[in-house]
Chain length 279, copies 2
């Protein structure tokens, strides 16, 4: 039996970097916390807690010592406040998110009304918005929300890194109707689409497909759905223990991928188990 | 019988301005020519010839004295050459076209690859392109041509003033796929869409619609077609002599509009004739 593991399975560049930085810092600092959970993986958050990394929700709750900023980033005010308190800052903001923050600030400073394509409640979006708050800034989730925007002479658009290109494209089309000058920085990160495209390719040449990740993880569910459309014998699992040996009947090739918040060791446990039951 | 004449019938702001400037200059200068015909109206070009305005095709053919630049504008090189020859320049380039030229130059100077939405053979387009020729510049007529563009980090878009918004919108959507940063100046002039929308409104409340303009004028034919869809009793005419008194049977309201190259006096001859036959 052949096993194909997706190269893009699991953490993206920014999350991998943030978790590495968090474990490194945990080894060096005696008092350390992270501002929000580093990632939507209870298993990983627990591991970090064992290393002494406490999760706090607000800047006011940081007890002192070192503080980790996760890949989503924080608002300009929060960063300012952390600096003012003279904490040791481990800034694991994803460099792609930092870019989106910088473009938002640049557009705002150069006099553009900033339109951020994304979900208003998402911490990444709140962070990016804060960098444009010197001027007017609107967050729009979709075309309909863009259509409600007022007319502005100059509009500058940036996107939450996880948005789909099609959504950005539609909103840009509407913003073109609303402005005389339009400037767009395409700050979409391709980690999600690369992972989805690779999953499609692997599903097409497999007899069984396993998609690993939390049942409440939106991106893992989407990944499983994409694979299922191509290969009905697709199973969404959280851990190796959920694998049913019956699935492997007559299977020549098993494809495996994992959502963005699935830690490496969980993928490896699955690989090991598949190697055993698939014999 | 009621007659409704469209406010937007005939010349747009830029063509009106250019013809006024041409007649004014003709009255003052003894030796004068225009670089290309001021407008696609043989009647008007003949009138200007009677006033001493000769039409020449190329800068080399300008005999000396004064030269009129028509509303489409000229290339940067041509303007340079006219200046070098120390001619009296009557620059009737439409201010909206001038803006498009300036934005093309600005984008090019700031390092953007310029994409001009328009027809490559049109003199206005050739003029605008010339202002961006310090850097890379592409002219694209439609979505398909835009899809053939290479990927570029920074793309700057401007449009020929007479393009449709839908075409610009589609091309901008494609350029977004081709770039990381996209900047768009919407240089479309609304004279055409205003004229078309007003024609629609008038046709809807008339019993007979007359659309005046050359049979070979693309914009007049389009205008007649738009009206015909709303009011089948629409007639495209070139001059007052083509009016058939039989059309006015049972007509309460006559709507009248005219294409972009139709001179005022031709519209007035039609008004007069309608007033007579419609009694
Ligand atoms: S956190 Fe990940 S999804 Fe992209 S923006 Fe950074 S690599
Ligand atoms: S020539 Fe006329 S169509 Fe617009 S760009 Fe100038 S007013």
């Amino acid at each position: 039996m052949k096993i194909i593991l997706a190269k893009s399975a699991g953490f993206c560049f920014g999350v991998k970097r943030a978790t590495t930085m968090a474990f490194d810092a945990a080894g060096k600092c005696s008092r350390i916390c992270s501002l929000g959970p580093i990632i939507h993986s209870p298993q990983l958050v627990r591991k970090l807690e064992e290393e002494g990394v406490e999760v706090v929700r607000r800047v006011e709750d940081v007890p002192g010592g070192a503080v980790i900023i996760r890949s989503h980033g924080v608002t300009a005010d929060e960063l300012e406040e952390l600096r003012r308190r003279d904490l040791e800052i481990v800034d694991a903001t994803c460099p792609f998110v930092k870019k989106a923050q910088e473009f938002a600030r640049k557009l705002s400073r150069e006099g553009y009304v900033v339109v951020l394509v994304g979900e208003a409640e998402h911490p990444e979006v709140q962070g990016i918005v804060s960098y444009a708050s010197g001027g007017e800034v609107f967050t729009v989730a979709d075309r309909a929300e863009a259509e409600a925007l007022p007319r502005k002479k100059r509009i500058g658009v940036v996107a939450q890194t996880t948005q789909s290109f099609e959504n950005l494209q539609q909103i840009v089309g509407v913003c073109l109707e609303k402005s005389l000058e339009l400037r767009v920085y395409n700050t979409i990160c391709d980690a999600t689409s690369v992972r989805q495209n690779e999953a499609r390719e692997i599903a097409a040449k497999s007899d069984l497909m396993l998609v690993i990740g939390g049942f409440n993880s939106a991106n893992t569910s989407r990944l499983a759905q994409i694979c299922k459309e191509i290969l009905p014998a697709t199973h969404h699992i959280e851990t190796a223990s959920q694998i049913d040996p019956g699935w492997f009947h007559n299977v020549q090739t098993v494809g495996i991928t994992a959502g963005a918040s699935t830690p490496r060791w969980i993928i490896e446990e699955v690989l090991e188990r598949v190697g055993t039951v698939g014999k």
